[in-house]
């Protein structure tokens, strides 16, 4: 019976990892290409969640909210990029601070508009229920399966976009060598802008998907954002594989340690492990190895 529990925990960890992939992918793509850590990423997730909550109130379900959240948050990202980040691309540390300012403003706006209490978002009927893996009750819920499928879909879509399209070719060129790509006629500022929109849009989808787990609250994004930063630090952004690998290690580690001890100890131990890991991989496991 203990093995059943253990297997279930591993599967739960997989679900947590999938959530991490969903929450991180947008951030990692922006960081990898434009070199900007978006401190407002958590609030972008929050905006996506509130979009889902509004759609829910108007009678739609989560599947309708996902594309809408993508569009809304991508437009928000466009505004932030054009209004703030465009001017400070060459000062990475200060983009942290400026985007934190954006985060504060969005958070307060959400609190003033929707109130300090959370808005509940219903699960679509399709995702109610469990897979009965074992004969006894702790079953594996459908929504975890949905998260895993969605995470795979997002990674697949991003892979297709970056490696199979003309746009992706330009993105990778800018990522490799910005100056030379510019000389070759790639509009690097436009690539930055589009990538920022795409990454923000993914944050919106993440928000829409995560809203039903807890409620949509004005400060829900911050914890997700910090986990996302850890995934980036551990996985690295030199390669698309860094996201799922980092998320898998962190998700499984936290879940299994939380099962053995408790949540906070799990987080603490995983954090210590990450700090030790970056001594070996200073730029993450799939870091971009510069010539020094």
């Amino acid at each position: 019976m203990i093995w059943n529990q253990f297997a279930l925990q591993i599967l739960n960890g997989l679900g947590v990892a999938a959530i991490l992939v969903i929450a991180t992918s947008g951030l990692a793509i922006i960081f990898g290409v434009a070199g900007v850590i978006n401190m407002a990423h958590g609030t972008f997730i929050m905006v996506g969640a509130y979009t889902a909550a509004v759609v829910n109130k108007l009678g739609g379900d989560m599947f309708m909210a996902m594309p809408l959240a993508f569009v809304v948050v991508a437009l928000l990202g466009l505004a932030v990029e054009r209004g703030v980040i465009r001017w400070i691309y060459d000062r990475p540390l200060e983009t942290l601070l400026a985007t934190w300012g954006v985060a504060i403003i969005l958070e307060v706006a959400a609190r003033l508009i929707f109130g300090p209490l959370g808005l509940k978002v219903d699960w679509p009927d399709l995702l109610d229920g469990n897979i009965k893996l074992f004969a006894r009750p702790p079953h594996y819920p459908y929504y975890r399966v949905f998260h895993i499928v969605l995470a795979a879909a997002i990674m697949g879509l991003t892979f297709y976009l970056l490696y199979k399209t003309n746009f992706g070719l330009k993105v990778r060129a800018v990522r490799r060598n910005r100056a030379i790509s510019g000389c070759m006629g790639v509009d690097t500022a436009k690539i930055d802008m589009l990538i920022f929109m795409y990454g923000s849009g993914l944050a919106g989808v993440a928000g829409a998907v995560l809203a039903p787990i807890k409620a949509a609250t004005f400060d829900m994004g911050f914890t997700y954002a910090v986990s996302s930063y850890m995934v980036i630090v551990l996985g690295g952004v030199g390669n698309l594989l860094g996201i799922p690998v980092g998320a898998f290690l962190i998700g499984e580690g936290e879940t299994l340690l939380a099962f053995r001890y408790n949540t906070v100890i799990g987080q603490l131990l995983v954090f210590v492990a990450i700090v030790i890991a970056i001594r070996v991989f200073p730029r993450g496991i799939f870091g971009y190895h510069e010539r020094r």
């Binding site: 900007v36 942290l96 954090f271």
Partner: protein, 392 residues
């Protein structure tokens, strides 16, 4: 280094600049404290309590300024050191307070321990019963922690954005840790009701300590070490080629800054008489960065002015209808400072002042030119043109 090569005149200029500005600031602080006494009367007054609080926050902002403004390390988890210092002192005061004034539960252990079913003070907390040991621990633990953290990260060339993000996570985890282990830390409510040191003497002590921290930072940043730190900030690769062990300088200043933050936290806990997990969290850390940025980084007066200005404004507005919109203002202020006024209030004023004093004698002009050349350097660590690929 090149001390001999520096002309006698230039050295004279340096020495003459050391005194007036710092005297001015310390004088202003003392004057503010003195003028506050007759205005508000007794030591119980709220304004007086605020001034003591702001002085602690100023030391905290100074610690951020040392690593961020002068060395270019952005830590978003500086409140970790503030919080550990504060919690150590708060717990120590709480343990002693409950022994002297037994709680309504009759025992001699803190109320939150009673609520959580502890019957005696856990063994690892017993050293805190002695005040000198508690003070030593409050300052030593954060410094040691900063040293360990520094050795792990800076020795491996991890800094910049990565360092900021890791310190942020550190602060978040400490905050959750304190909430989770409520039997030992008071949990979400923090440590409360342990008396305080709100006396006129202690306020003077705070003023003197703040001035001392200011002078210490002044000595550090104007010493040879300070020059190396600034060169690390402006171009770490070049500093490395000059033969300096950049990692060691970073670790050193990180420890000094953690020490200052712990001192600020310890004083804060003693003065205010309440401490909660929020005071160790990422939001509070970033707030300190805001104070520094608004006042003016890479200046020593900046953090003080920024702290008093931002917190003072917050206090003034919190009573009015604007209270709801205060956070809007904070966010906008932050974006504005980063985009438009990079040097903060003090830095902008200084730039204006320097530009105005163009007609000064030769040696002063020479000094001004040197300083201005310093300023023109970008804050970001060196990178080849166009290699935003690997943001460090």
């Amino acid at each position: 280094m090149a001390t001999q090569a520096r002309s006698a005149g230039e050295r004279k200029v340096r020495r003459s600049r050391l005194l007036p500005r710092s005297v001015l600031v310390v004088g202003a602080l003392v004057a503010a404290a003195i003028s506050a006494f007759p205005v508000v009367g007794g030591t119980d007054s709220y304004v007086l309590q605020l001034i003591g609080k702001f002085l602690c926050f100023s030391i905290f902002a100074l610690s951020v300024d040392l690593i961020w403004g002068f060395t270019g390390i952005l830590s978003l988890g500086q409140a970790v050191y503030f919080g550990i210092g504060a919690y150590t002192i708060a717990l120590s005061m709480k343990l002693n307070y409950t022994i002297e004034n037994s709680t309504r539960y009759g025992g001699t252990i803190p109320d939150f321990m009673v609520w959580n079913g502890l019957t005696e003070v856990p063994g690892f907390m017993e050293p805190l019963l002695s005040t000198p040991i508690a003070i030593a621990l409050a300052l030593a633990i954060p410094t040691l922690l900063a040293f360990i953290f520094g050795v792990i990260t800076f020795k491996r060339h991890i800094y910049g954005v990565y360092c900021a993000v890791i310190t942020l996570a550190e602060a978040l985890i400490l905050e959750q840790f304190l909430i989770e282990y409520q039997a030992y830390t008071g949990g979400f409510n923090g440590v409360t009701d342990y008396g305080n040191t709100r006396t006129a003497q202690f306020l003077w002590f705070l003023v003197v300590l703040t001035a001392l921290c200011f002078f210490g930072a002044r000595l550090l940043t104007h010493s040879r070490i300070g020059t190396v730190l600034k060169s690390v900030r402006d171009n770490d690769v070049r500093a490395e080629f000059m033969g300096y062990n950049v990692a060691n300088y970073r670790i050193f200043v990180f420890c000094v800054s953690a020490f200052l933050a712990a001192l600020a936290g310890a004083l804060y806990a003693a003065w205010v008489g309440i401490i909660s997990p929020g005071d160790t969290g990422p939001r509070f850390s970033i707030e300190a960065v805001i104070w520094t940025a608004v006042g003016g980084r890479a200046t020593l007066i900046g953090p003080f002015i920024g702290t008093f200005l931002v917190r003072g404004l917050e206090f003034l507005l919190s009573g009015s209808w604007l209270a709801n919109y205060w956070q809007f203002f904070m966010g906008a202020l932050f974006i504005l400072v980063v985009l438009v006024m990079r040097d903060g209030i003090v830095g902008t004023l200084l730039n204006w002042y320097r530009a105005r004093r163009r007609g000064a004698p030769a040696e002063i002009r020479e000094e001004q030119d040197r300083l201005e050349k310093d300023r023109q350097h970008d804050w970001r660590p060196s990178s080849e043109p166009g290699s935003r690929n690997d943001p460090v």
